[in-house]
Amino acid sequence: MIISIASGKGGTGKTTVATNLAVSVDGPVQLLDCDVEEPNAHLFIRPSIRETKTVTTPVPEIDLEKCNQCKKCAEICRFRAIAVLGDTVLTFPELCHSCGGCMAVCPEGAITEKGRELGVLEAGAMNGVSFVHGRLRVGEAMSPPLIRAVRDRTWADGLTLIDAPPGTSCPVIAAMKDTDFVLLVTEPTPFGLHDLQLAVEAVKILDIPMGLMINRADVGDDHVRDYARAEGLPILMEIPFDRQIAESYSRGDMFALAFPEWKARFREMIEKIETMTGKGAGAQ
């Protein structure tokens, strides 16, 4: 079973939930941190990294010996990543979406592909949690291919938890697509509610079952609960604002390890999700 942990708004406690869930379950579990712009889960899990791999995306390379300046490549490129100027061909790799159109269209076979570095994928483990994350190179705009590279490490069976990026645009879609359940982490404030509504719309488009986790449940107002009721969204767990929890988070500690009663509650939540999806941790 693959559970995505997401939230429209950043900073609601998505990583807190993903990491605490990972250390609460019995049996094998995998945590994929797909928030590649700001990967934070490793600060809590503190895995020993056993593998580091550069992730690239293919971009065109032109053999000017073969090129006859027909401009077909520039015409097909919808992202203006390739231009023919005089007797040379210019490429703008950061604009390229790696569609392969220029290579397929070139009648002279003048275009091949080379990898452009997007970031790194790191994999490791700690205390029975298998861990993978992507780290986008700072200055790089193209995150979805790196997110997909992390997603490609999903186990064939067993429990996979995905820490998704915030928002509702292409990076979060790449992280949540084809997962079995989305756990939306929110807080009961106007910002929390507004961004939750956007996230719910995104999950509906992907047609994935979902449930809510309300963090800092005792601050703010009741509108998130009213909204959940109106939408028929189950509230699977609530965590009150607790300075002890906030401080443990600030240090990079997981409170489920310090307080066994929380560990039990995270485990209960997984069981609820298994019942809702009809999938055990082992099923896919």
Binding site: G8, K9, G10, G11, T12, T15, E37, E38, N40, L43, F44, I76, R78, F79, H97, S98, C99, G100, G101, A104, V105, L136, V138, G139, E140, A141, M142, S143, P165, P166, G167, T168, S169, C170, P171, I173, K177, T189, P190, F191, H194, D195, L198, E201, A202, I205, L206, V219, G220, D221, A246, E247, Y249, S250, R251, G252
Partner: protein
């Protein structure tokens, strides 16, 4: 004209609450919300929309079943597996590259341009505001951010305002890159948590990459004084001014619930007086005072 961009790296550090509070303090500025994906500034500023414009993104492949002979050319060419074996396009997976359109031997694929959001020119009690809404599950957030910032500049010029206050998106990816280029200065609002520190470091690196001056503001600094000291040390080592230490205060949430900025909610409270100092410190940094004589 100066543009101050508020970033955080990590979400939830209080960036938008601080931006709104600064808007109350700046006498006459233009507000720009560059967080087009999960914009929240409007919840505090309640903009009255004066002009609404559609944002055209890229195209999306649409196959005409009448003309399609199921030859499978497009299925093989599509690198996003957006065209299934039944030759139906998955709009969410479609990247908009149009390669299938050009290669379809039957010319059965249309490529209509999608409207993938809207942008607005509005009025608020703190001045005009330019903001936008990217459609759910859409791409091109960077393009929309660039557009919103261009429009903000144009409007500020028309109205004779010399400060643009921009609420930036979280992260360091495409929309953030579009938010920082050409800005006068960036304030990074961070918090003293391991995540806050980690993400601040990446946001600073990004600003360096684009050669934009950076200052740091520590929010909820009393949550973990040791980490706050670490942030200050990092700023010092990087030669970056620390413009403020804002204590953790539930008043921010209470103000948000009422749709007010902190200064409107409780202008005499301790948090308000701290924010006044922070704003004064920001406006006194070399980046923000540079060229002031010539401008005046």
């Amino acid at each position: 004209m100066k543009e101050l961009v508020i970033l955080s790296g990590k979400g939830g550090t209080g960036k938008t609450s601080l931006t709104a509070a600064f808007a109350t303090l700046a006498s006459g500025c233009l507000l720009c919300d560059a967080d087009v994906d999960a914009a929240d500034l409007h919840l505090l500023m309640q903009p009255v929309i004066r002009k609404r414009t559609e944002f055209q993104g890229g195209g999306v492949a649409v196959i005409d079943p009448q003309r399609c002979t199921s030859c499978g050319t497009c299925v093989d060419l599509c690198r996003w597996s957006a065209i299934g074996p039944d030759v139906v396009v998955d709009e969410i997976a479609c990247e908009g590259c149009g390669v299938c359109v050009d290669f379809c031997p039957e010319q059965a694929i249309d490529f209509p341009i999608k409207t993938c959001g809207q942008w607005f020119i509005s009025d608020t009690r703190c001045g005009p505001m330019v903001h936008a809404r990217l459609g759910i599950a859409e791409e091109n957030s960077g393009k929309l951010v660039t557009l919103v910032r261009q429009q903000a500049r144009q409007l500020a010029e028309e109205r004779g305002l010399d400060l643009i206050l921009t609420d930036g998106p979280p992260g360091v990816g495409c929309p953030v890159i579009a938010s920082v280029g050409g800005a006068t200065s960036v304030v990074i609002v961070t918090e003293p948590t391991v995540s806050g520190i980690h993400d601040m470091a990446r946001a600073i690196e990004l600003c360096r990459h684009f050669k934009v001056p950076v200052m740091v503001c520590i929010n909820k600094f009393d949550l973990n004084p040791d980490n706050s000291t670490t942030i200050e040390r990092m700023a010092r080592e990087g030669g970056l001014p620390v413009v403020g230490r804002v204590p953790f205060d539930q008043a921010f949430t209470r103000a948000m619930v009422q749709g007010k900025t902190l200064l409107e909610f409780d202008g005499n409270g301790s948090a308000a007086s701290v924010l006044r100092q922070v704003w004064a410190a920001i406006m006194n940094t070399p980046a923000m005072t540079a060229g002031q004589q010539t401008a005046a």
